[in-house]
Symmetry: C6
């Protein structure tokens, strides 16, 4: 069935979950048959988490989120060996203000150097979109999680996966903990010389800079698509692959199915999935009054 | 209702708390109806903590506190993208000698580079006001908490939020613990080279120095307002947004509602909120006799 | 019996296990007598782990795995004092996409410097085969485990086994934990000078580079055998010593016993062993949708 | 009442304690009324701890203690913004050989840079008095606790209170643990660059050297008062503010009330308070026989 | 009795153990009287551990073990103040492939610098014998334990026993843990400067190199005895002091008592002790099949 | 009473213990009255621990111990402000091969710089006596404990007691743990700069070298007394203050009371105290057979 084909990486339990959620969506809509749309809604909920209806963003943050997600989407779309985009959304879920969801076309058990670098470029797309529209003074902490993930991948390339030509096929950090510490109470760098530590830092920084530069060039070259996609997100809140393809080809995206002009205020049954994301959104913020 | 609009960042539980405290304030004042003034008192108590009636400051410390808080308030008032001031007070609460309370105008889920720097400037306003009035030899330990918070923000800008152009969009310290240590038992810097560590320190110091210079310039340029606001605080103990606006505009601030000349000795029912603060006040002091 | 002779390093319990599994294989095939083939199947299962039937690799990953395993096999085959190859397979087992299985000819209680270097060369055979066919941009994370093991051996040569002429017969790291940390909470390098640490890193890197260069030369010189062995693996999924010998001698390998052209789709009774491996396969991957 | 006015920093419980102890002193002296003298005795016992009657010092140590305490007293007396002296005593209490007790004139919630430096100078007064009378070879371990406290204050000035102009208003060490370690298991300096660490050490050392020099100059300039105060302490064991004022003014101090020439052998009722101190006295000593 | 005289360092419990084991040996051999031979067997078992009958070494490893043990024996035999040899054996026990057993002539409560260096030389005798016969490429991991022990002794000479003239009579590492770490969670070198750490490493390395050179010269000068002793070990499996003396004097060693030509296959009653050793044998090896 | 006067530093419990032990000594000797001699025996047992009758030293170790203890005694005897010697003995107690016992003349609560340096010199007396008689190659591990104690005192002088003129009156290491580690899991040096750490090491080393040189000069200048005292110890096993005075004055020491020529084999009642010591004797030794 289509559901299974469109869900590489889903376990049997995940698929069972999707079926149950589909039935619930159909029931809530007083329908006796589970349709393809219910499956789609269920799949999005499983993959992306539940919507957060009560979170009210300012228009400024909403616009910035739209550009941030559009930046992820466009860079990911254009980099070689990058997973294709599934959906982009600016409906907040959990702590995320927006989400760009990629889906691999088939199961994948290893990553090539090229595809890792493409992922890092895609992660930087969000921050760069902010920078292009707001200037460096205006960029936000919303990219913190992207930066963390890009840094860890770049670090692993150099210290665990043997993907730095200068440092060669050698492991420099222990495999037990991702990224930072060799073991609880110890630290990876305490086991290498100052010279090695310096070269590792240079190599990681060089990957980061190279990928950031590549992603920046892409968004500069596709500024029109960036503006168009942000506009579409602000209008429709969520867009899918066919709309993304329209925008990238310079065409106006078609509105989503069931779209009416008084949207986007409809409830959970309106067909917009609520993707979850951990990127746009900062861990260090709440709107509590600050005193100084 | 106004209460909810004036309390961005308050949870449902917080709001319920405000309602309960309002009823108590009304009851204590033998009134059958909860008025707007009771809500205001309740909100201040929830936001700022309970007053500390028994703490008797010397006139010298009271004056210094007035200048310290006025310094926070004026710098925060004038920096771009800074939350607006809500109240300033020199009534001690908890361990704080005074408080300057800022309230965001709407919920906020991320911070821009510009607004973070404005917050750091505002934090330095207190120390700088002391320095301008007492000279460097006279500045007190009362700014310790401001310094700690400013340092942590500057550090996060550089090591977690990718906001140093020199170090780029890269994570240098782990996200689990704010600021200092990567993990219990380990230390962040043990995972980087000496060179990287040096550049990080330079970048953090540069942010600190830049913000301190900016805040100093503001207070030097607004010395008249600083003196006027400190005087108002010494007279009224607590001032609110409209009085602040008067002072900033060079006008004499109106006395608070209910103000009589034999004040400020009135009890908990006199309408002055008792804001809490963690800034002016030093953790390392008590007035116990010292022996040497 | 042959079983015992072909299983150096097997404990009594292991051997008992083999006998039980053999009986089960015979029973499942409705045969009253346990034949040599059943023993072979049982031995492979004990040594290499159970097949993972449900894992579907893309054709690209399958090809890459075939080259990766062929690289291990050919380098191991040609290095002095290296254990002889037993089987090579691209049937996934556990987290491994493929396996090259070596068996010592007799029990062994110590390793010579020469044989350790040969093992390191063999470990690099997989990555090098990827590099020769896909270029450096195309190499995958599938070699992570090989790199970890090679790094640990090179490190032990220098810091524990006294096999670096420059650093001499001296222990530089504690024996309690393999490789990285002297003790929980401490770190080995904290007990030596910066100078010593630098020389250790140079010596380890030099071993890694030397072995990588040696292995690369071998595979460049035997590119024909590499292509032939990968092709044989793609066709037969598993090849054994006699087929390896054919390929290395430039002959076409004979098909395995029971081979028919509609294979390799047959079930657990078709005589192909299911070797286990920890090499080709990356710990950091799953095919779950990624969001950015 | 006088008692309360003379005890800033005393909690309600402390004051209650003073009242109880006063009654006990009166009872022990078979008096039905608690007099001012009983309150004084009680206050001294609460503030300074109980006398240690059994501790017999050699004449040499007793003289050295007298100079040590006189050094503290004179430097503290002459430094700006230093708390005024309350009493000085060479009656041992707990582990202390002597005590100089300072009492603030009013409650104090923060310290100025000037007052902190004055405290450091005062702490060094003891060691310097030893050095002036015994030479550097003769100075004792009795100043260890003074040195520890001065070092921690100088360190906090630089790393937590923003009182080094060179290092600026920035926090360099965590607030959780005073002085040394950022957190259990970690260390503060591991989170900064070697360059920053060097400057911090230079700044701390510079404060220490500056304060030591200032205190040394004071005692050199007031050598007569130093000798006179040590002599008074050797004669009367404890002196109070009015006697200190006499000595500082170059007058012979009046004997304490109740003073007779066969003193100082009288019991707990002779009006000399028994101050407690943690300064003169070394943690690392006992008079047990040493073997080598 | 002879038993007690030949067992310096044995506790009372050890001696009781020897007596019990002697009785068991006699009983197993159906003898009613415990003879001197039974005592000898019992003593060897207590001192050296139980034989490992099931371990089958290849001829190559057996030969290498013979040379390794002969190397230990000859260097130890010729170094000043070294304990005299008791027995040498290539019968595996526990994890050891062979053993050279030294026995002090009398109880000893301290060691001289000269005797420590002799011990280090003796420990290197095994590795050097391998190197002389197999070349550096052929040396095995069998010397790991010797290297660890020699390193720890050299380290203690420098950091705890004051036996480096350059570093003087000073303790550089804590006494609680032998060798590496000062305390759990800390590390010794973190308490010294980089300069001191460098000199310590140089001094340790210099001791190691000097002792290795001395031991290598001895074995080069006594190559004939080395070959003769290895041959004797391969023939008789265990040799004792008188045979060692024969070989060192250039004489053919007499066969052991009870020796017949069909030996060395006899059981536990043939008079050859089964010494235990922790040297020849590597912790990191098992003969399990390796996969790559 | 004499007992109390001769035991500064003894607590009341210690004195009670002495009295009880005296009664036991008298009872064991079938005497109804406790004499001065019984008190003396009891005091020595309390101060120095119980004799170890079963420990048999070789003549070489016994001689070396005699020189070692004589070295301690003579240096301690001649250094200024050093406690006077009470007894010297080469009867082993606990893990100690010999003991030199010093007793302060009066209670002491602090130490001068001069007296600390004298103690360090005294500690080095033992090792130097070995070096003068056996040469540097012959010195033993018996001085390990002396070295540890001297190192810790020198370190405390520099890092805690403010007794290095170069580093000044500043605390560099925490007081909680003597000597090495700031706190469990941390290390002192991690809290200072590399430069400070280097100067600390230089200062400590300079104290060590200076004291060692002073002690060496003393023993070189008093070689005759050294030989005489060692001879007396070998003859009498224990000597006391009056004999030490004789030897230092160049006179032959009188034999101890009760001395007969067939001594020193008498039992516990012969009047020789059995002092305890932790110096001569190495923690790392037992006479167990060593294998290599």
């Amino acid at each position: 069935m289509d559901i299974a084909r469109g869900t590489p990486g889903f376990s049997g339990a995940d698929l069972a979950n999707v079926v149950n959620e589909s039935a619930l969506f159909a029931a809530r809509q007083d329908q006796r048959l589970v349709s393809m749309r219910h499956f789609e809604q269920a799949k999005d909920k499983i993959m992306m988490g539940a919507e957060r209806k009560t979170m009210v963003m300012s228009e400024k943050e909403r616009t910035n989120t739209a550009y941030h997600e559009a930046g992820h989407c466009i860079v990911g779309h254009l980099m070689p060996e990058h997973d294709p985009t599934y959906k982009v959304s600016i409906i907040p879920r959990g702590r995320a203000l927006g989400v760009t969801m990629f889906l691999p076309e088939e199961d994948r058990y290893s990553m090539s150097k090229r595809s890792i670098e493409s992922q890092i470029c895609g992660l930087f797309g969000g921050r760069i979109a902010e920078e292009l529209t707001l200037g460096f003074e205006g960029v936000t902490t919303g990219a913190s999680n992207d930066i963390e993930r890009a840094s860890k991948m770049a670090r692993s390339m150099v210290t665990k996966w043997g993907l730095s030509e200068k440092l060669g096929p050698m492991q420099y950090e222990d495999d037990e903990n991702d990224g930072f510490l060799g073991r609880p109470g110890g630290s990876a760098r305490a086991n290498m010389s100052a010279e090695t530590s310096r070269v590792i830092d240079e190599e990681i920084k060089q990957i980061i800079d190279h990928c950031y530069g590549t992603a920046r060039q892409i968004l500069t070259d596709h500024r029109e698509q960036l503006d168009a996609m942000a506009a579409a997100l602000l209008e429709y809140e969520t867009i899918d692959k066919s709309q993304i393809d329209d925008i990238m080809a310079g065409r106006a995206p078609k509105p989503p199915a069931n779209w009416t002009d008084d949207a986007p205020s409809s409830g959970p049954s309106d067909g917009q999935a609520a993707p979850s994301s951990e990127e746009t959104g900062s861990d260090n913020l709440d709107a509590a009054p600050s005193s100084a």
